[in-house]
């Protein structure tokens, strides 16, 4: 398939003409099987809805963490526990543990918790942030039932530069960022560092006190440091290696929820991540080897309740994959993966470990100029047991110049977390969760000399069985394979871009309506059958209106999140909210020094809102940012 569109990120500063090669990103990508940095996730995923963060949003989000970025720039529901507090994700009505977060192909889901706290991951450390809607364990590995978030770094051969940015915001936010790049044809070194501290003393009305006085959130201070060091070496024309080291440290106080007088708890997270990647790209075959070591430390401490615990997790990953273009119509990807999880926690009787081996195969077929299909298969073998065999099948049919129909079905699974299995009251007999999903998409696009329009409609349906829940059924709090969850919904994404000389206007709307209900009663009196799972909005939408002229931009973002039930029988809920954010920025050069200034006004309507019950979120707030680049 040589005619596939290689959609490149939107270069908003050089939007002088629109061609089939330069189109706005944030669209479904049809990449050739072979691209220089291509991973199997990108090339063997026909029929999958994938949205890449465009370059303007990356610029806007330079001071954000991944959770903040996704909350205004994706259809993933981000469950934020407060400003700079823990944040997890829900894809299409699934749970936080159903999101695979892959850093250069290495899964970062914490083996104890099965989830990733996205508030700890700075967006500015990533060169590419892409969101894959819908799970597919056969491609992304265990855990990816709801969807996957790909965080990638790119190499920097032949690039040189240095930049410093300072961000100052409301509630005592100060962030320093430094980035240095030095690359020749043969070798590169890239270093990024950041330091952030914030008071997070946001205002909220305390609705448990008479007159509901306006108060400042106490005990919410946060500070974090991070370092991303990368280096790469071109061994010869075909081979290169990349070595990346990522350090993250966050110390935060846990604020009281509305209604609590004080909270003295704090949490420290520290992570060391090391990734090695070897690539050999020849005419018709490509090898990628990955090795990674991830070491995470989490210390939660509440001096009042003595409810505290330390958990440590170490993960070792080795993966080797090969992609071969068998003929002009067929490409094959095969590979093996080893993942070792080693954990210790104050809640365990002893250390826990798990060794997983997996073999995977994917095949791309271009049946004709109009039809492309992918099949994925994967078998995991964990400790002494075969895990559910997983498979995915996707297809893309080009109806005409403007219309495409896509379809994808997959069977996915998730292993119980180490906490589920090895906690003092854990359950060693848990079965893996299984997900069966189907998806149908219709896309229409059209490009003219100055304008580009794109719209995509997706319908999905998914059953997750053996959903693990900690419940006291039977008298003790223990995880059990309790729920059968049926999620179904519809997503609609539309983009319109108009370019004229240095002027660009861009409109974007993303709507999602979904139901995610429990289908199985567990006990007498259980009123949850057919009811929406808690903390999952049914309706969400986002709109973006962006103007840019030359090196200046104005972006207006609107994010609506429908009400979320807080009780499993759907008798109580947290209110819906509408946020309006305005981002303004300008780049200019003075002599040889580049300057990058921006002002963000978040929540300009001053909505008082909560994502999760009684955990206040910031009302109107500001961010000023100044960057210097040489």
């Amino acid at each position: 398939m040589k005619k596939v569109l290689a959609i490149i990120g939107l270069f908003w500063l050089s939007c002088s003409q629109l061609t089939a090669q330069i189109l706005p990103a944030d669209t479904v990508k049809y990449l050739p099987d072979f691209t220089a940095r291509g991973q199997r996730f990108e090339s063997f995923n026909t029929g999958v809805k994938m949205v890449q963060t465009d370059s303007l949003v990356k610029l806007i989000a330079i001071h954000d963490n991944i959770a903040q970025l996704l909350s205004y720039n994706s259809q993933v529901f981000v469950r934020a526990y407060g400003p700079n507090q823990i944040a997890t994700t829900s894809f299409r009505g699934a749970g936080a543990q159903h999101t695979a977060v892959l850093w250069n192909g290495v899964n970062l889901q914490n083996s104890l918790l099965g989830q990733t706290d996205l508030s700890l991951l700075p967006a500015g450390f990533m060169d590419d942030i892409s969101v894959y809607y819908g799970g597919n364990s056969a491609l992304y590995g265990a855990g990816a039932i709801g969807g996957a978030i790909m965080l990638n770094n790119s190499s920097a051969f032949n690039k040189k530069g240095a930049s410093y940015q300072i961000g100052m915001g409301s509630f005592g936010l100060i962030q320093h960022r430094l980035a240095l790049t030095y690359g020749t044809k043969k070798i590169y070194i890239k270093a990024r560092a950041y330091h952030q501290s914030a008071q997070n003393n946001i205002e909220y009305h305390n609705y448990t006190l008479a007159e509901k006085p306006l108060q400042n959130l106490a005990h919410a201070q946060q500070k974090s440091n991070g370092l991303m060091l990368e280096t790469g070496y071109k061994i010869n024309a075909k081979q290169e290696i990349n070595l990346r080291y990522w350090y993250g440290f966050t110390d935060r106080n846990i604020p009281p929820t509305i209604g609590m007088a004080v909270n003295n708890a704090y949490q420290i997270d520290e992570a060391n991540r090391l990734g090695l990647e070897w690539k050999r790209v020849a005419f018709k075959t490509r090898w990628i080897g990955r090795a990674a070591f991830v070491d995470e430390y989490l210390n939660y401490n509440d001096p009042t309740t003595y409810n505290s615990g330390i958990s440590k997790s170490k993960t070792l990953v080795g993966e080797l994959e090969n992609t071969t273009q068998i003929n002009s119509k067929t490409a094959l990807n095969i590979g093996v993966n080893y993942t070792g999880n080693f954990a210790q926690s104050s809640g365990y009787k002893q250390h826990a470990s798990r060794h997983s081996l997996a073999a995977f195969v994917s095949v791309n077929n271009h049946w004709s100029k109009k039809i492309k299909t992918t099949v994925n298969f994967r078998q995991d073998f964990v400790d002494d047991n075969f895990q559910p065999f997983t498979a995915g099948v996707g297809a893309d049919y080009k109806l005409n110049r403007y219309l495409n129909i896509t379809a994808q079905v997959n069977k996915s699974f998730r292993l119980p977390t180490l906490n589920d299995l090895y906690w003092v009251t854990g359950n060693p007999n848990l079965l893996p969760e299984k997900g069966y999903a189907q998806e149908l998409g219709l896309t229409a696009k059209r490009t003219t000399e100055h304008a580009y329009i794109y719209t995509q409609l997706n319908m999905f349906n998914r059953q997750i069985s053996n959903w693990i829940l900690w419940q006291p059924y039977g008298g003790s709090w223990t995880p059990q394979n309790l729920l059968q969850v049926w999620s179904r919904g519809i997503e609609w994404n539309t983009r319109y871009t108009y370019c004229y000389n240095k002027f660009m206007l861009s409109l974007r709307g993303d709507v999602s309506y979904l139901l995610s209900t429990n289908q199985k009663a567990n006990v007498q009196n259980d009123a949850t059958v057919g009811k929406q799972l808690i903390y999952i909005p049914r309706l969400t939408y986002q709109t973006w209106l962006t103007f840019s002229y030359s090196n200046a931009y104005l972006a207006i973002n609107q994010t609506y999140t429908g009400y979320r039930f807080t009780s499993s029988d759907n008798t109580s809920f947290v209110d819906d909210y509408l946020l309006l954010n305005v981002f303004v920025g300008k780049r200019f050069k003075f002599k040889k020094v580049g300057f990058d200034t921006k002002i963000h006004i978040n929540n300009i309507l001053n909505s008082e809102y909560q994502v999760l019950p009684s955990r206040p979120m910031p009302m109107r707030n500001f961010l000023f940012s100044l960057g210097v680049t040489i």
């Binding site: 448990t208 509305i258 209604g259 007498q524 259980d526 049914r538 019950p613 009684s614």
Partner: protein
């Protein structure tokens, strides 16, 4: 432009400025109308850190439930984890554990009168005399002494451990400590710990029977690293503060035996140990057979209505939906079922 972009633009603008979801209105089924003879207050803990604790009012004559009566009356939320209630002199005291406060209400109108704050983790409150109350603190706050005239904490009696239910009798304050093997005895004249009674691990609730014997229920525990200690029911002589009888009880659940309650004549005891158990005070054996068996129910609230001679049992189900309340007569026959708030933890009967 040849594109029919206006159509899409229109749709986008519709989404931008039009759409939002209609939220269901959750208003109480019945307005708060208090029966002049009194009624039943249902204490719904709500979820920890959600601040969704609610107080329901149940009229035993009309059998109507006014949900969320505190918020309806006072136009503000009650707080986080409603633990217990007591009343004195026309005032109701609502102990809101994780809001670290006690709400004082007019018990005949439910309107807020005052808020007593300054606690660490208040659990239970008992009245002593006409102007003093003792409040147990779960997390190392000891026992706080409150002046009911000023609604101020005036003294802290240091008691180490997780103080739970309290009882005053004969100028002695009995304090259960649920992470220890003892009940402390405090002299209410000096407010000093004067004695302690050794009991089985985890005393959490206590009451006086018709013979003025003190009954203390212990939960037992799972020992970290394996094994467990049994729970127990103890009968204590309040003159010598010595244990007269001790019945070991096998733990049936994580929490073990909890929430000791008695009938109106104070000669039959009830408690939760996953199922509901019953024990006439003169029996020499504690029955192994539940009085009301749990079929995977999560019984979390229990009390006896001495006016109607009915036992109220709350089932918290999955702890994230409205509880089911079952009413039984003394023969364990189900007399009625209704729904209360999230995690019903206790029933407080108030009759004039």
């Amino acid at each position: 432009m040849k594109l029919k972009s206006n159509y899409f633009l229109h749709l986008i603008l519709m989404v931008a400025f039009g759409a939002c979801e209609t939220q269901p209105s959750i208003t109480p089924e019945y307005p708060v109308i208090l029966n002049p003879k009194g009624g039943l207050f249902i204490l719904n803990e709500g979820n920890f850190q959600f601040s969704n604790a609610t107080l329901d009012y149940y009229d035993f004559e009309t059998q109507k439930l006014s949900t969320n009566a505190f918020e309806t009356t006072n136009n503000r939320k009650l707080g986080d984890v409603l633990q217990s209630m007591t009343h004195y002199g026309g005032k109701g005291y609502l102990v809101v554990n994780n809001s670290q406060k006690i709400e004082v209400i007019n018990i005949n109108s439910l309107s807020s009168l005052a808020t007593i704050s300054g606690f660490v983790s208040p659990r239970f409150m008992v009245i002593h005399g006409t102007q003093t109350a003792y409040v147990s603190e779960y997390y190392n706050g000891g026992v706080k002494v409150v002046d009911l005239n000023t609604n101020q904490i005036i003294q802290t009696i240091p008691v180490s451990g997780n103080c739970d239910e309290l009882l005053v009798h004969n100028n002695k304050l009995y304090v259960t400590v649920s992470n220890k093997k003892m009940v402390y005895v405090i002299n209410t004249q000096s407010n000093v710990v004067m004695d302690s009674i050794d009991v089985a691990y985890g005393p959490n609730s206590l009451l006086l029977d018709k013979n003025n014997h003190l009954w203390v229920l212990s939960s037992g525990r799972v020992i970290n690293g394996g094994g467990f200690e049994n729970g127990a029911l103890q009968k204590i002589n309040t003159e010598a503060d010595s244990v007269l009888q001790l019945f070991y009880i096998t733990r049936q659940s994580d929490h073990g035996p909890i929430k000791l309650r008695c009938n109106g004549k104070k000669d039959v005891l009830y408690w939760i140990n996953k199922s509901i158990y019953k024990h006439p005070i003169n029996d020499n054996v504690v029955s192994q057979n539940p009085w009301i068996p749990s079929f995977n129910n999560n019984f979390w609230a229990l009390n006896y209505d001495s006016l109607t001679d009915e036992v109220y049992v709350g089932d918290a189900i999955d702890f994230v939906q409205r509880s089911t309340i079952n009413r039984y007569d003394e023969t364990a026959t189900l007399r009625g079922i209704f729904k209360a708030g999230i995690i019903t933890g206790d029933f407080y009967f108030y009759y004039k």
